[in-house]
Amino acid sequence: MADRERLVNIALALIVPACAVAAHGMGEPFYVTLATRIAILALAAVGLNLALGLGGLVSFGHAAFFGIGGYAAGIFATHAFNQTPLLTAPVMILATNQMPVIWLVSAVVAGLAALLIGLISLRTSGVYFIMITLAFAQMIYYFAISWPAYGGEDGLSITMRNGFPGVNTLNPLSFFLIAYGLLLLALFAFSRLRDSRFGAALQATRQNEVRVASIGIRPLRIRLVAFILSGMITAIAGALFADLNRFVGPSMLSWSMSGELIVLIILGGTGRLFGPVAGAILFVLFEFALGGLTEHWQLFLGLILLAVVLFGRGGLIGLLAGKVRHG
């Protein structure tokens, strides 16, 4: 089974860039953008998969981190474009439009937010955890709406996509390769983390919290670290997503965004390495194919999702590569 999953993973890893390169060769930038969207949503879901898939932490508030990344990209881009400093007091901080710096800032800010949210919400479990993460994401959403400095309800347009040293990010294929490179990096980090001592402890806390505590590992600390790392990865995806759309608005922070990220993971297969990639491919294709047929495509997405939850557990990877041996 493991070998079959590896084959499926390799196929999934190749199919997205192959499509992007082919579309670029045929002069179809729209399809390159579609592939970029897949890569970025998959990256966000890899982050969530760390908390949800490995740690069993059903966070319904990951849009908070996604949006924090998005706003970091938007705010830096705006200041860099207008050549105004980010902050004048107490110290002067200048803005940059270089993506690596923005990713770092996104990850740090989202990590701090995840630390605060995690400290409160991880004291609880089950339904409480779901509702509290949802509530905190909603808090940040309303803050973004009522804070007029960066667009408020209207959001923030990014006039010039942020840059990357030595790369023309305005070229769709170059931007795709940046996003895809980050996705591969995140997948590599995910697999190393999953097989590490930390990953073993994290999965053990999901399966039996009491046993883990009884052998001297503190479940809260393990979960908190996982939650923070998870938020940081999702935030980097958010920064890319804002650059892709050249827009960031409160919708990136909304509860439905959080829901979609969970949907991606379930469509692909919970806790599987390439589950988020498979899920993102399916989701973007559904959106594109159904959206072309009817403006009410979300109704059909709902029906498909309902069918997957009720009858088809394991997602696409489960279908292609079989079930995991132990859960």
């Binding site: 609880t124 439905s256 969970i262």
Partner: protein, 306 residues
């Protein structure tokens, strides 16, 4: 700041809280008896509002619309329970979240398909139009007072139902031990359907009542749903008493925060800055309150042993 304005805002907070209670009571009942987290509760609120607006527009009577909202929401709830929720009792919370998230998509898009994207409007019934005088010299909308009254009557009715009737006894028994009451011969399946339909009817009632104050549109349910989550997290999941206390607390804190904070901030800020900062903090206030309550009591104010 006059005392009349203060009283008006306090009443607005109470009215908001009562409306949240109607939502939260259903959610907490459903969770208490069935252990299911129902994200689609906001959709049932929307169904109630749309049913009321459509029937009121067709017949010209708000009261017929109100009856229609109860029937439509309860029927939608019963159908959802029998077709979907019933399969989720033994699943983990993740599956429940996803299935009910899918239901939101289906309800929202289905409603948009039938009614279109434009909001509907619902008029306040003639009897309840107008205002009454407040002690401080201000005026207050009669309709909002009626909502407060209706909500309190429902709260009392719900208490009597659960504390004094046979159905209420079964609900309480179901909350403490599902398997045992099944073994004693109570038909759990139909009890579940009844509780779900009851919760749905309360949500539908809330939607219809609020529909006359705001526009009736797709997506109106989810912001209220998330606030209802905050309410039951504060009150303690499964506790009706907690839902009432939490709802009033959230309603009053939110409304008064939006009213008072910008004024408070003018004491040490420039007026324009105070207005934005005050509004921004006020929009986050109930979540901050929730965080504090959870830090002290992680299971909510009126925790039940579940």
């Amino acid at each position: 700041m006059s005392s009349a304005l203060l009283i008006e805002q306090a009443l607005n907070g109470l009215q908001f809280g009562v409306m949240l209670f109607l939502m939260a009571a259903g959610l907490t009942l459903i969770f208490g008896v069935m252990g299911v987290i129902n994200l689609a509760h906001g959709s049932l609120y929307m169904v109630g509002a749309f049913a009321c607006a459509a029937v009121a527009a067709y017949t010209g009577s708000f009261w017929l619309g109100l009856v229609a909202s109860l029937i439509a929401a309860a029927a939608a709830g019963a159908i959802v329970e029998v077709t979907v929720i019933r399969r989720l009792y033994n699943r983990d919370h993740l599956d429940q979240v996803l299935a009910t998230f899918a239901l939101i998509l289906i309800f929202s898009e289905g409603t948009r398909w039938v009614f279109g994207s434009f909001p509907l409007y619902l008029d306040i019934p003639k009897v309840l139009q107008g205002a009454i005088s407040l002690p401080g010299g201000g005026q207050y909308q009669l309709y909002r007072l009626a909502i407060i009254g209706a909500g309190l009557i429902v709260a009392i009715g719900l208490y009597l139902l659960i504390a004094k009737t046979r159905l209420g006894m079964r609900i309480r028994a179901g909350e403490s031990d599902r398997e045992m009451i099944g073994a004693l011969g109570v038909d759990i399946a139909s009890l579940n359907t009844i509780v779900f339909a009851l919760g749905a009817a309360l949500a539908g009632l809330a939607g219809a009542l609020v529909g006359a104050l705001q526009s009736v549109q797709v997506g109106m349910g989810e912001p209220v749903l998330i606030l209802a989550f905050v309410v039951i997290v504060i009150g303690g999941i499964g506790s009706i008493k907690g839902a009432l206390a939490g709802a009033i607390l959230v309603g009053v804190v939110d409304t008064m925060g939006r009213f008072l904070l910008p004024q408070l901030f003018t004491l040490f800020m420039q007026p324009s800055q105070a207005a934005t900062a005050g509004a921004a903090i006020a929009s986050m206030l109930i979540y901050i309150v929730m965080a504090f309550i959870l830090a002290v009591r992680p299971k909510g104010l009126f925790a039940v042993n579940a």
